[in-house]
Symmetry: C2
Subunit: 336 residues, 2 copies
DNA sequence: CTTTGAAAGTTCAACGATTCAACAAATAAA
DNA sequence: TTTATTTGTTGAATCGTTGAACTTTCAAAG
């Protein structure tokens, strides 16, 4: 492994001169610079990031904490984030929480130990108003940008969010305009703020349409296909007379739709189904799903932008991006 | 930032003792260890990875080079890889190539500069028999495991592969057994060995069924939904009389199926379609796709295993995992 | 009552790049 | 000729951690 020292020996100048020449410092003659750079290249010199990191206290490393990369929503975010970070000379470390607080904690600690220059976190939501590891981040003053709605325990960090409430509102409004009045809602994880916001958008749209939200149309689901399946079974079991189902996300919508189809119900003729998120599967599902497109790519890019501002010591403010309704074949006017 | 030195001052012992105690060295008494560990915890000590890396010449870092994280196949691999790596105390850096050689080169160089302890690469396939970066990796002796079939330019590295040929052979055999004789094949990227292997499996199965492979049933596609769409249009345009289509992967199959459905053809009644890969979308597609399940999770785990052997200086051999046919609704006997 | 040996802890130096303060040489100004 | 200024270069210190060698203490073995 070639070190500065080795180049110095070959070139007959001090290590310092080499270091400065390679970094284009102002006080090295153009001649020397050229000579040294050529030599370094020829010898195959590659700087040692550990040594640089130790000396300069900066690692050019971002830590990215997400629930799971297999969730298409996050895959897209990672995709964009990695791309932009590389353009800026940063590398990206990945940690998956599977929505378990202890895994989140473990991942964040590892990143802090690596002295990452910045932390992007999609939080694991909990009921508690405090979370130790978030206090540690604050104490360490590691620049941090949240991906998603901030909960009480992380409310002091800037966040890049999606306008969840408004987007969900548009979905419900769309169903109402098609003529639906009895719209079931499949809720998300009870601790997740985004799930509450989406639910709130649904309720607001109903009220504006002079339909009083009724708990008998609300079913507890979650965030996975299985959660959607279970909620749908529950709904069928209760002989619910809903003419449409609005799900908290696409996976739940898929689980729901699968179950309804198995019961020989036709979508959208017998019942409409709408999702949220616009994952690939939603587009190519048996019945292409009406859903909401989240600007995930732009969200990631904006988050990196925000991070750079944080790193440069500037003030930053949380931002919310608007999402867009996509009408497909899974929604139609109710029967009769 | 708390350093060993700070703990040492508080505890009234040498820095070395602290270091050893925290790492459970044998020559520190249980008492002292407990005392020091408690103190470290209380003071919020987090070791500095840069310093550790500099000193020990090991970064506990893996570099993972893949085409794109948005491709569900790789998402799954990253998922497993990250999990296993963390269990072993390693962090994972991510780089996406988008199948462009220059991006691959750039990513690998960055990882080498970071002195990663190991490199997992899903190669960008090219026609050339040599590739400079791969020679650099070899020169640096960085432990490397390939994910996927090795091409000439990287044939000297151990690889974790899928039995592509055999799996593809099973798909064709399945179609033949259903009674198909005129089976179209949508090929993958021309440079990709895995694509050739799958094609080879198709040809072998045909020959064994005494059907001579005919080029008029072969259409150049690629690896994306759009590629599948284009190949399907081409096929329709040529009035091909195939009763089934076997696609090189699921995305191509989806693009193909979408196009056929738009032409009012019924799947599988009018024409069968089979994919390869078993991505989520295949399972929940309009017509659930017959496909091949690749053991991606196991592949990743085995790749890490192989890496650990490499790191420990043991000899390793490339391995091939078998994939399994999944019969769904998109294939059926031909009409009439 | 020495000798041996293990246990517990210490000291010193090093890893490789960067930065600070200092210095030499060359040039310009007084 | 002297002084000041610019330009190019250097040695030593530093970042936080750890490997290797060394000292001290105390108990067991001879």
């Amino acid at each position: 492994m070639v070190r500065l020292k080795d180049i110095a020996r070959h070139a007959g100048v001090s290590v310092m001169t080499i270091s400065k020449a390679l970094r284009d410092a102002p006080d090295v003659s153009a001649n020397t610079k050229a000579r040294i750079k050529a030599l370094a290249l020829q010898m195959g010199y590659v700087p040692d990031s550990s040594a640089q990191g130790l000396r300069t206290k900066t690692t050019k490393l971002f830590g990215l904490v997400i629930p799971a990369i297999t969730n298409p929503v996050y895959a897209r975010i990672v995709f964009a984030m990695e791309e932009r970070a590389h353009e800026l000379g940063y590398d990206v470390l990945l940690a998956q929480t599977l929505n378990k607080p202890e895994r989140e904690e473990y991942g964040i600690r590892r990143f802090l130990s690596r002295r990452v220059d910045g932390l992007f976190i999609s939080p694991v939501y909990r009921f508690e108003a405090e979370a130790r590891v978030y206090q540690e981040i604050a104490a360490r003053k590691t620049p941090t940008v949240l991906l998603g709605t901030p909960a009480p325990f992380c409310k002091n960090f800037p966040a890049m969010e999606i306008e969840e409430t408004l987007a969900s509102y548009h979905v419900t409004q769309h169903l109402v305009r098609l003529g639906h009045k009895r719209i079931a809602y499949f809720t998300g994880p009870p601790t997740a703020p985004w799930a509450h916001e989406r639910f709130e958008g649904y309720r607001r749209a109903l009220r504006e349409a002079n339909v009083e939200p009724d708990d008998k149309y609300v079913f507890a689901a979650g965030a996975t296909i299985d959660d959607g399946t279970n909620a749908a079974l529950q709904m069928l079991n209760e002989n619910c007379d809903a003419t449409a189902v609005q799900a908290v996300n696409d996976l739940v919508a898929v689980g729901c739709a699968e179950t309804l189809l198995k019961q020989k119900l036709k979508i959208p003729e017998d019942i409409s189904v709408a999702g949220f998120g616009n994952i690939l599967t939603a587009e190519y599902y048996r019945v292409p799903l009406t859903t909401v497109r989240q600007p995930k790519y732009r969200l990631a890019i904006a988050a990196v932008e925000m991070m750079m501002n944080l790193i440069h010591g500037e003030k930053v403010q949380s931002k919310r991006l608007v999402a867009e309704l996509i009408e497909r074949e899974s929604t139609a006017p109710p029967k009769g």
